[in-house]
Symmetry: C2
Subunit: 364 residues, 2 copies
Amino acid sequence: MTTPPQTAPRRATITDVAREAGTGKTSISRYLNGEMNVLSPELRARIEAAIARLDYQPNQMARGLKRGRNRLIGMLLADLTNPYTVEVLQGVEAACHALGLMPLICHAANEVEMERRYLQLLTTYRVEGVIVNALGVREETLRPVGGGGIPAVLVDRLVDGLSADMVGLDNRAAAELGTRHLLDQGFDDIWFVVQPFEQVSSRQLRELAFRDAMQAQNAARAHTLVLDLADTAAVERSLAELDRAIEAGGGDRVMGKAGNQGNADTSGTTARVALFAANAPVALRLALHLKGRYGAGWQTRVALLSIDDPDWAELAGITTIRQPTYEIGYRAVEFLHERIEGVQSTARDCLLPGELIVRASTSR
Amino acid sequence: MTTPPQTAPRRATITDVAREAGTGKTSISRYLNGEMNVLSPELRARIEAAIARLDYQPNQMARGLKRGRNRLIGMLLADLTNPYTVEVLQGVEAACHALGLMPLICHAANEVEMERRYLQLLTTYRVEGVIVNALGVREETLRPVGGGGIPAVLVDRLVDGLSADMVGLDNRAAAELGTRHLLDQGFDDIWFVVQPFEQVSSRQLRELAFRDAMQAQNAARAHTLVLDLADTAAVERSLAELDRAIEAGGGDRVMGKAGNQGNADTSGTTARVALFAANAPVALRLALHLKGRYGAGWQTRVALLSIDDPDWAELAGITTIRQPTYEIGYRAVEFLHERIEGVQSTARDCLLPGELIVRASTSR
DNA sequence: CTGTTAGCGCCTTCAG
DNA sequence: CTGAAGGCGCTAACAG
């Protein structure tokens, strides 16, 4: 109760504490680092008191400078607007917490240039490692990091030419799961809608797996539609194409595979159309459009399934494939931590399964 | 020149660059700090070359240690799951970027204990200032920060007993705007739904302003319902209460004000019920419930208006009051920056207006 | 214009 | 068990 804090009192340093405790800096340092067995209980008590009295808190920067590790790791995020990202982040934070790491979160807001700059900034702060979930990072961009000795772990997407640990959804299995569900429900004209592929490997993988799954099932009508959310005009055109297909009850374009084998199929009869969104942002855009066109009950008119399970999915009644986001984040940090501690194995992949959540939109 | 650096090539230091450029460290430092007018073009060129050759990047930690400022600011966030938070963050990042600051983002995930710990951690990293959007931070918790000389700016909520700059929505005006809109649309039995007030001043302010607005309009039926999203059972009970009110077409509880003055009111006739959500998380919970109970077209059955404008609002067709989130974040950083630069004025408030966005749910 | 000399706050030998 | 001395990478006076 005797602490009238008055004028911006310079924060106490280790020297202050040493003086206050009537000892040398070394002992304070030892205390801070938990080397209790090397301190007499008496000294230890004095130090404790001094620290409390001065409200001393060791300067992480100085410690980092000295021993070369500051417990900071970089977390480069392409898009915090995507619920997926936030969820992954929760796992990252939990793991960091458990491992005594501090994540430096950088949000590139879908701008490749930003990503580059942040990456550079991170090295400047001498982070011990980096977790990357970026849009356009190429091998060269990551050179100063992955190459320069700073360990890196990729989340959700690979970087071509870079060999690093990666953790994310098992895209192939997820796309198969979704496709099969739609086919099982009797949909036979499926449109896979995805953002421009760019450097994002997961988009490519999902689309590829979708096509493969369709082919494996001898399903005739597999379409892929690229939706560039950043380009309004392009979006309009793409959606118009979709409308035509939906309203024709099938549409005449058939991209998926070549031949329809013996399987009973629906050629001739009206096809049942379903939309397969590659992720939540796409799904939202589609839902908005469908609602505008078919009204409140659009879910019963056209089937929509999406990878990602944003909080509004339940509200909109769309079927989803939920990613184990928390675990993805957690594992990423664990991987990174191992690398920081010196593990040298070749690049590892950790592919986690998604979970199908069926809702009104696809259950007749 | 002896051993080609093969394993984890230690990052180049200023000393390395000096040697490489055949000069002293001081000149390098001068170069780094842009004191070009004090360097001969010749030397400058040599330095430039050396830096490029060594891929040198100054160590921010060391710089910070030396000059006492590391350009780091703390950003304490109560809930990244709330779109509001992410939007504010975008403004923060933009401003930081413009001012050469680096935000250290800490996500407390609605846990008061986490907030305390992060705040402490931030001081440990010697951040130059802190932007706080927390759930349960009280004056004492912020003592090591606001009191200990580190400037702090509050976002969206005040901290009792602490005098610091604050920026956020003009809650009173927003609540009035919403209330008036509902009344104008002919709703006369309005339920304000809000999370437990706890230490969150904005929740209290909104509720208070709502009641005041109702009273000013001589509107008889003003109710306040507290929805504790963290407590499933409690939520169920609260929602059941709401259902009763909605289905009675009015309900018998009247909490708002005491007397109904001369104004024409609806007593006797069936009242038109409307729900006023204090923020997006509440609105989402309400929407989910209403959809479950009244089906896809629930928006036409019961009116829902919410402060906050999450991306699914358009999809759900609910009326909202959009906050100037980006600007809130931007201003917060500007305030903080001024404080860091030494501005000493008394605590300032920056209240920004919200914007009403009318959608199906409240427009008959 | 340029280099030398001290530290910033802390940790780490290395002698007591 | 304890303390003194040196240095991490960088900047900030002072000399030249």
